[in-house]
């Protein structure tokens, strides 16, 4: 393929230039007349002949055809190189996974799954796997650990894998007890008895001590044991506790002014760092994670200005707060069938802007538990 180039020359009499080109046996094509010169195409192999023409300065404008592209590429190689690098970087950003986050409360399960994922190539700073591969790995891991894993989901979230697990809990069936009593696990006054099997040894409003038999598994008729069963049921009783609560009398009341400023934040471990200097003196913030850059979460922060007013509890308010805390503390432990019956303040004392309160609490709660016993075999 012949290579042609475009040449430009300054000349007040273009015909003279053409005659000189003719004398040098230079073929010219697509001649264009400019205001003060000529522009034409010529065979690149004849360029050397132009040097023989004295008095004119021939200037190469550009190549023609595919060579024009090569020439352009040669001139702008830095831009092209940058473009290629940018594409490569973009590819890396969209295909490299920077972290694997395994979500489960059990550390052993987390470690087990992390190790298995690593074995199948799901680890940080590797190329993103496609949907088919991820599905296969999921199935394989579930097959490898049938006793430990119930369900597993590998989610691709931006540049990280988020792995959610459901642990398989194999409940061992307890052997059925043949002979058991319901005994008191705590001392208290019996308030309610619900039992299906057994012989009641106490009645409602009886005081029982820890270890007393509430419902017996021995069935007695005419003072003779006629049979043994496993006493089943629940016994609720009134039990008492004393608890101490400490309440600081000084506190701060925060009131929003309506002024809002926005910021960005990055986190590393448990430490959070604001990207821009906060412009509000006192504020409360709301955060929303935007994206994760190489495993570092970047969050959008909405800072709401607040007026902070120092306040002091009165004795009544502090006492009320203390009783609320007692309620919260016990309600966390109680089931639906259990309840707080009453609360009485035994002692209150103010020390260095703190109120110490001793509270007597009366609670209705389950006081029964099953205990197995051996059969009494009468000799003879």
């Amino acid at each position: 393929m012949k290579r042609f180039i475009w040449i430009e020359v300054e000349a007040y009499e273009p015909s003279k230039v053409l005659l000189k080109l003719f004398k040098q046996n230079i073929n010219v094509l697509d001649v264009q007349y400019l205001k003060h010169g000529l522009r034409f195409q010529m065979d690149a192999s004849q360029v050397k002949k132009l040097k023989k023409i004295v008095g004119y300065r021939f200037r190469k404008i550009h190549e023609s055809g595919i060579y024009a592209f090569f020439d352009y590429f040669k001139q702008k190689w830095l831009i092209f190189a940058g473009l290629i690098l940018f594409c490569f970087f973009l590819f890396l950003l969209s295909h490299i996974m920077v972290s694997v986050q395994v979500i489960h409360s059990n550390k052993e399960i987390r470690e087990l799954v992390t190790k298995a994922l690593d074995q199948y190539g799901i680890r940080k700073l590797t190329l993103k796997k496609d949907f088919g591969e991820i599905s296969q790995i999921k199935e394989q891991i579930l097959k490898d650990f049938p006793d430990q894993l119930e369900w597993l989901e590998i989610e691709v979230s931006g540049m990280k894998y988020v792995v959610r697990i459901e642990e398989r809990i194999i409940t061992k069936q307890e052997p059925k007890k043949e002979r058991c009593h319901l005994i008191a696990t705590k001392s208290g006054i019996v308030k309610k008895m619900i039992f299906s099997v057994g012989d009641a040894k106490v009645a409602v409003n009886d005081f029982v001590k820890e270890g007393d038999i509430l419902v017996s598994g021995e069935l007695i008729a005419n003072e003779v044991v006629t049979g043994n069963v496993c006493a089943t049921g629940e016994v609720f009783g009134e039990v008492w506790y004393t608890t101490n609560v400490s309440i600081p009398l000084n506190y701060e009341e925060k009131e929003e002014t309506g002024k809002v400023r926005y910021n960005l934040e990055w986190s590393k471990g448990s430490l959070n760092h604001l990207i821009f200097r906060p412009r509000l003196k006192n504020y409360v913030d709301e955060k929303k994670e935007l994206f994760s850059l190489f495993g570092i979460p970047i969050s959008f922060v909405k800072q709401k200005e607040v007026n902070v007013t120092p306040k002091v509890y009165t004795e009544e308010e502090a006492l009320e707060k203390a009783l609320q805390l007692v309620d919260e503390k016990f309600n966390m432990k109680l089931s639906e069938k259990e309840e707080i019956l009453s609360k009485n303040v035994l002692k209150k004392q103010v020390n260095n802007s703190t109120m110490e309160v001793e509270v007597f609490v009366s609670i209705i709660e389950q006081i029964s538990g099953q205990v197995e016993f051996q059969e009494n075999k009468e000799e003879g």
Partner: protein
Amino acid sequence: MQLVNKVRSFLVDQNYYIDIYENNIHIFHYIDIMKLQNEEIILQMDGFRLILTGENFRVKRLENREILVSGLLKNIVFER
């Protein structure tokens, strides 16, 4: 182009030929350019001189044995 010329010379058994279009003059097998100006072009052909007169002559293509000129042709003279 060489191949085309060879085919042409094979098909057209002429020493030269001149094509005149509305605003273009295409001349093959000239020997030399004697004069090349906007109003007049003189070409040495095989055995005669070709004198073209007109206005605003502009060379569009100039090769070894072929020239394409655009412009308003008013007169053509074969000088022997």
